[in-house]
């Protein structure tokens, strides 16, 4: 895992002091709230319904045990004993006091963490594969590039007031585990025919009220030119985006207004210019960073056998454990979706237990996922039973990865000032309706994603079943969408028809699911059945 050197440490320490000074000037009245707002947003502080919310960056979803323990300490000391993992692999605290925020940032800096650019019109935390460095199917570990991107996008002077937020994702496998093409700017590491590594580049994705799936704007970018290329993209957008309507300022709008060809041409022209400045990073810098991500010292000669005689353990292994590249090791997914719980929520005690497990059984590494779960990336197969027992004792052993109860949900009206409707109770009711493990297993992979308003924080556009909270004559109402995907076969979900109330939407989901069961071919996933048979049959089943 990456470790800060003196330069990185000074950057976050200075940032804490800067923010302390800004908070002081706000409190002394030297700055009005309008001026202070973008500054606090660039430090992850939102004003919500009841209190400030602080979003802490988990760079590319990688954490060590000391960092997780600090997150637990923050939950206990400054919040109400829990935190919430988000759809971009970060963690949020919902009950923060402004005056304490600089102290929290100082505590984070001690474990090489920060909240820099986690909200506001800035380049956000880089998303990456939660299985990076462990996945059997990856070309190379994408995290050195993610760390490189983290540093190059931290405090870019020219892009300090972008038209809107800018989200970057990077992966190195064909399977997409991070909703790649739903990002503003996305990179897939690929190999050309000469065997060189480069980036396949996508641009212009995004959810919100105007969803777009990103286009490929370059099939192969030499890795050493990424700084020039990224600046070219940002400059084209920064100069030409609309500035008169906040809903039309995301890069996706410009990309789609100009069209793939014109946008690409403008980027290429700016790219030539940036290359001519000769400011790309020295190759030795990649080597320096990559050295931190060298594979851990996996033991050799381990057995791949797992004793599955305990049926509950066997169910968990079947669902939560994924192939690892090293023989004798496995990737273990930890569900933050207990039936009836709040998706992504975790208590301070649970964080500490997971930190202990990471330290003892996973080379001190942990990951967060865009589906709001956690991962122990490098567990010896022989240790899986012990790990599972510890998870059971902490209420973290649900076996529902990618199943119907593994829902994604935004905070919704319970916390969010922009919400039209509550998301959390709907998620809870659906999970309860389908709580029976046999029923869930029979339904197989089925991704439900719930947002409390059109901002789409809960990814409803990418849900196999999406649920969107809307305001209908002053009361909460929910629309049902079908056919979305955030995987390598990215598609945007479509609205099925008129909305429902809170109980009605749960019934509607059940009718859609039962229709799938009735018409599916053997071993066909929900999304594949939907794509094969189309909306009409589902519509009829749902609306009768």
């Amino acid at each position: 895992m990456y470790r800060y050197d003196k330069y990185d440490q000074a950057m976050v320490d200075t940032r804490v002091e800067e923010f302390r000074d800004q908070v002081r000037r706000r409190i002394e009245g030297k700055m009005d709230d309008d001026q202070f707002k973008p500054l606090r947003l660039k430090n992850g502080l939102y004003l919500q319904l009841h209190a400030y919310m602080l979003r802490v960056a988990v760079p590319y979803g990688t954490l060590n045990s000391a960092q997780m323990r600090t997150l637990a300490m923050i939950a206990r000391k400054y919040d109400r004993g829990y935190g919430h993992f988000t759809t971009r692999q970060n963690i949020q605290y919902n009950w923060i006091k402004l005056a304490e925020a600089p102290d929290i940032l100082a505590d984070l800096a001690k474990v090489e963490m920060h909240a820099i650019q986690t909200s506001g019109e800035s380049i956000r935390n880089i998303s990456s594969d939660q299985y990076a460095g462990a996945a059997a199917d990856e070309l190379i570990d994408p995290r050195p590039w993610a760390e490189m991107l983290r540093q190059m996008t931290t405090f870019m002077p020219e892009f300090s007031y972008l038209p809107r937020k800018f989200k970057i994702a990077i992966i190195a496998s064909a399977e997409d585990r991070i909703a790649l093409r739903w990002h503003d700017f996305a990179l897939r590491i690929v190999q050309n025919t000469a065997g060189e590594l480069g980036f396949e580049v996508f641009a212009g994705g995004g959810m919100g009220r105007t969803p777009f799936i990103a286009y490929c704007i370059r099939e192969f970018l030499p890795t050493t030119q990424i700084f020039s290329y990224l600046q070219a993209v940002l400059r084209v957008w920064n100069r030409h985006a609309r500035r008169d309507n906040i809903h039309k300022q995301r890069m996706k709008i410009l990309v789609h207004d100009l069209g793939q060809e014109e946008f690409t041409a403008q980027v290429e022209e700016a790219f030539e210019h940036f290359l001519s400045l000769g400011e790309d990073f020295p190759p030795a810098e990649y080597d320096r960073i990559a050295a931190y991500f060298a594979p851990p010292a996996f033991e050799q000669g381990l057995s791949d056998e797992i004793d599955l005689s305990d049926p509950a353990f066997a169910r968990w292994v079947e669902r939560q454990v994924v192939a690892h590249k090293a023989p004798g090791y496995a990737i273990a997914n930890i569900s933050l979706k207990p039936v009836g719980g709040i998706p992504g929520d975790i208590t301070a005690e649970q964080m500490e237990l997971v930190a202990d497990l990471a330290e003892r059984f996973s080379f001190d590494e942990l990951r967060s996922t865009h589906a709001q779960n956690l991962v122990l990336p490098h567990v010896k197969k022989a240790d899986l039973y012990t790990v599972w027992q510890a998870l059971v004792s902490a209420g973290l052993a649900d076996a529902n990865l990618d199943l119907i109860s593994d829902l994604i949900a935004c905070p919704g009206l319970d916390y969010c000032s922009l919400a039209n409707a509550r998301s959390i109770p709907v998620a809870q009711k659906i999970a309860e309706r389908f709580a029976d493990p046999a029923r869930q297993a029979d339904l197989g992979e089925l991704k439900i994603k719930i947002s409390g308003c059109i901002n789409a924080c809960g990814h409803h556009h990418a849900g196999n079943i999406g649920i969107l909270g809307v305001d209908r004559k002053g009361s909460e109402s929910y629309q049902l969408l079908l056919g979305g995907s955030g995987d390598e076969d990215t598609t945007q979900a479509k609205i099925a028809g008129p909305g429902f109330d809170e109980d009605g939407i749960v019934d509607a989901v059940e009718r859609a699911v039962e229709h799938y069961r009735a018409v599916r071919s053997p071993n066909e996933r929900f999304i594949d059945t939907y794509r094969r048979v189309g909306m009409d049959g589902f519509k009829e089943a749902i609306y009768g």
Binding site: Y7, N238, L277, F281, P282, R288
Partner: protein, 155 residues
């Protein structure tokens, strides 16, 4: 320790003198609009509004002494690109930030090539000095001569 690029002592003295970081004599003609500038061959000071295309100035840079770049709202970051593109095009005259310019932006503005500031609301000189001297190092290059951390690491 700063390896490079901190404001010079001369600049520090000027914090109270309207935030100008140049030694030459300031242009005394008022800046004209971009359209007017392109028509008036004797004009040497021009004003660029947010959203105007700075590249049309590039063929005329040799006769320009002052370019004012306006920030209608501090959230409108187009002026950062405007200034940096002027420096990349070789312009060495004055670039002045006007409008809604906040102290929290001036460090990044300096890095993009601005060398004077005439904000709508005056900036407290001690706040300005703190903002400009806060960062010992920077991650990425811009239009100034600060050496990015990735170079410092490799000598």
């Amino acid at each position: 320790m700063a390896e490079s690029g901190n404001p010079t002592p001369a600049a520090t003295e000027q914090f109270s003198a309207g935030l100008r970081f140049r030694d030459d004599v300031a242009a005394d003609e008022p800046a004209v609009s971009l359209d007017a500038f392109l028509e008036q061959e004797e004009a040497d000071s021009v004003r660029i509004e947010a959203g105007e295309d700075v590249t049309v100035l590039f063929p005329h840079l040799s006769r320009v002494r002052l370019i004012e770049v306006d920030f209608p709202k501090f959230r409108d970051g187009r002026g950062f690109s405007t200034a940096r593109m002027l420096r990349e095009a070789g312009y060495t005259g004055e670039i002045k930030a006007t409008g809604d310019v906040l102290v929290d932006l001036i460090f990044f503005m300096r890095r993009c090539g601005f060398d004077s500031f005439a904000p709508d609301k005056p900036i407290d000189p001690s706040d300005a000095e703190a903002a400009l001297t806060r960062w010992d190092n920077v991650y990425v290059p811009a239009a100034d001569d600060r050496v990015p951390i990735w170079k410092l690491r490799h000598g």
